[in-house]
């Protein structure tokens, strides 16, 4: 069979092909030849295979990552494959979707907290989504100065101010978000909440942050 001759004469080139080199794939002479060899023997190379077989035929020791392109090869049951990559698929597949309620908006939105890496990113996204300005967080004053305060319900069912705990802790404990607006928002830095008045008193915010009582 003529194809075997290509290999026989390629013996010394095979050595070269197994050298570890820094070079772009496909720039190697021997690889090109073996690619031609493969095309000759398989009249039709199925899609996705070309790249996979290119590098492999000259390669004795290493299976390059392009092998992954061949569908269903090696023939390992999908159940078994999934067993060996469970963490990956779980992590990639499951986002942390939480409902976001904006006071006064007709409907709720949902966002995937995993998409963001930090509070500033999240807040910016919320500002974009709801066309509002939340402003900056400070431990002392919360979001005071802004008409909006982002809050969230945690695992215990309490409503907390977004920003107090480390980001990673926040993602795992946040069940849903609510962007408070107006007087309620402004009152967040205040210890004393006057129930008898509805006027927006501009009281000096105290250093302490207190939990909101219900909502």
């Amino acid at each position: 069979m003529e194809t075997s001759l290509v290999y026989a004469s390629d013996d010394h080139l095979n050595l070269k092909a197994t050298e570890l080199r820094l070079g772009l794939p496909g720039t190697d002479e021997p690889e090109k030849q073996s690619f031609a060899f493969v095309r000759g023997s398989n009249k039709r190379a199925s899609s996705g295979m070309d790249g996979a077989l290119d590098a492999e035929n000259g390669d004795k020791d290493h299976a390059p990552s392009s092998k992954a392109q061949v569908v269903g090869w090696p023939p390992v049951k999908s159940y078994r494959r999934n067993c060996f990559q469970p963490k990956k698929t779980e992590a990639e597949a499951s986002g942390v979707f939480v409902k976001v309620r904006m006071d006064g908006a007709p409907y709720l939105r949902k966002i995937d907290l995993k998409v963001y890496n930090s509070y500033p990113e999240l807040l910016k996204a919320l500002e974009n989504m709801f066309k509002c300005t939340i402003g900056g967080y400070s431990e002392r004053e919360g979001y005071d100065g802004s008409d909006f305060a982002p809050t969230y319900e945690d695992k215990d069912g309490d409503w907390m101010l977004v920003g107090d705990v480390p980001w990673d802790m926040f993602i795992t404990s946040c069940k849903r978000l609510r962007i408070m607006k107006g007087s309620e928002a402004k009152g967040l830095g205040v210890c004393r909440i006057s129930q008898s008045t509805f006027t927006q008193e501009k009281e000096k915010p105290l250093g302490h942050f207190t939990k909101m009582f219900g909502s």
């Binding site: 069979m1 194809t3 075997s4 290999y7 026989a8 390629d10 013996d11 493969v38 023997s41 398989n42 009249k43 039709r44 199925s46 295979m49 077989l53 492999e56 035929n57 004795k60 020791d61 290493h62 299976a63 390059p64 990552s65 092998k67 992954a68 061949v70 569908v71 269903g72 090869w73 090696p74 023939p75 390992v76 049951k77 999908s78 159940y79 078994r80 494959r81 999934n82 067993c83 060996f84 990559q85 469970p86």
Partner: protein
Amino acid sequence: MNYFPEEVLEHVFDFLTSHRDRNAVSVVCKSWYTIERFSRERVFIGNCYAISPERLIERFPRIRSLTLKGMPHFADFNLVPHDWGGLVYPWIEAMAKSGVNLEELRLKRMVVSDEGLELLSRSFANFKSLVLVSCEGFTTDGLAAIASNCRFLRELDLQENEVEDHRGQWLSCFPDSCTSLISLNFACLKGEVNLAALERLVARCRNLRSLRLNHAVPLDSLQKILAQAPQLVDLGTGAFVGDQNSESYHKLQSSIQKCTSIRSLSGFLEVAPCCLDSIYAICLNLTSLNLSYAPGIHGSDLIKLIRHCRKLQRLWVLDCIGDKGLEVVASTCKELQELRVFPSDPLGVGHAAVTEEGLVAISFGCPKLHSLLYFCQQMTNAALITVAKNCPNFIRFRLCTLNPVIPDPVTSQPLDEGFGAIVQSCKGLRRLSLSGLLTDQVFLYIGMYAEQLEMLSVAFAGGTDKGMIYVLNGCKKLKKLEIRDSPYGNGGLLKDVGKYETMRSLWMSSCEVTLGGCKALAKKMPRLNVEIIDESGQIGVNPDDDRQKVEKMYLYRTLVGPRSDAPEFVWTL
């Protein structure tokens, strides 16, 4: 023979357990046919679309045990689209309606729904045994129905199924009155189970022989379970992680030591190698060991474990065992009959750890070997020739090189001669899977020598239509032929169309067959279903362009014509 009373013939037929024997007996004459069909209790249907549930029940009204297979084998490797078919519901429904006294249902590669399981659990008062292999479509809710309603359940065996786990309490649904379990395997479930309920269940099922746990069952639960079930013959552990110095670990050791009947061991889905000391006591008597889901056991721990298992007949491992590890197997496991070496890295990225050397060592050490599944980095003709000489008893020989077209790395030749030696030497070979660089030559050998071959799997082969024709002509007992990414076209497909009625099925994907060729075949052979899987919709757009290549074709013999549940993308010509 017609002057024997029916009861005598029935009694004689009772001794025929193999369905092939019973099939043969049923075609001798009309009266034998009649007697046989009324006495048949176990039926095997290799392709669920070859016959309909109604006709099955009509012919075998006393059926008690049904085995069904659905999707084609290549569905395992994602080559068959979701929703292709293979639903079991119509079968359960038909049997329920006809008052069949179903006791056992064994399914492979079928779609099972919770509704189906619910109906099953309510319709058959004596239902005893459910075995699901590589099935999908159901959740733990369906299992809850089985547990709740099947009062005499003996066997619930779930092997490698994709089950949606609702993390409910399915296992708690076994009523306190359930004491009949002999076999329980839920290793493939991903979610938690109620451990207390499990422990109580095991305690009251005194006949429990086989128990395979999932990863959510921790070591201290295992200890309590083993303390209650020292009679176990087959054990699949859950998470095998614990503190070696703890009291519960010591308890575990003594519980395990009392399990003197264990012959088969599997699991170790999660494992702390230091805990393996506890199982050495039972290793001596093991005949079957499955470590293929235990990547945590490797290197010297694995070798040490193997050295204790002198009586192994079946071994499933990952290729991280290496050629050196296989040499240890060869010198330790003299009774080995079946070996499967799976890739630890299914994507094939990185180093595969076994080569032809490991296999050659095995062949020298284990002459009783008859079943092999071997994923390897490379293979040589010389090695295969040696293996063929050392092990002439192969029934199943499946070789998978991680590079599907790799030639013999020493000679750069195709692997034709090596596989040729296998088929020539192993006169009882029934199943063969090829890989590596191949030409028409290997198929010439197969056609010439593989007289008992029933199933052949071909992938990325080279050559011409002649290769396919050699096989179809030569292998008289061929039942299943599956081919992917090989250069066979209409010439091979249409050479001997009558052959396909003697076979269960033919699969061809990414080959050279055209729509015209498939149409011609379908026209000539009305008792075949020639199905085209048209995922891209291309065929639908140009159904009259006969020159276009068919990406996936699956044909099978059938007595009931085109199936009515074919999805949009499947065309029966």
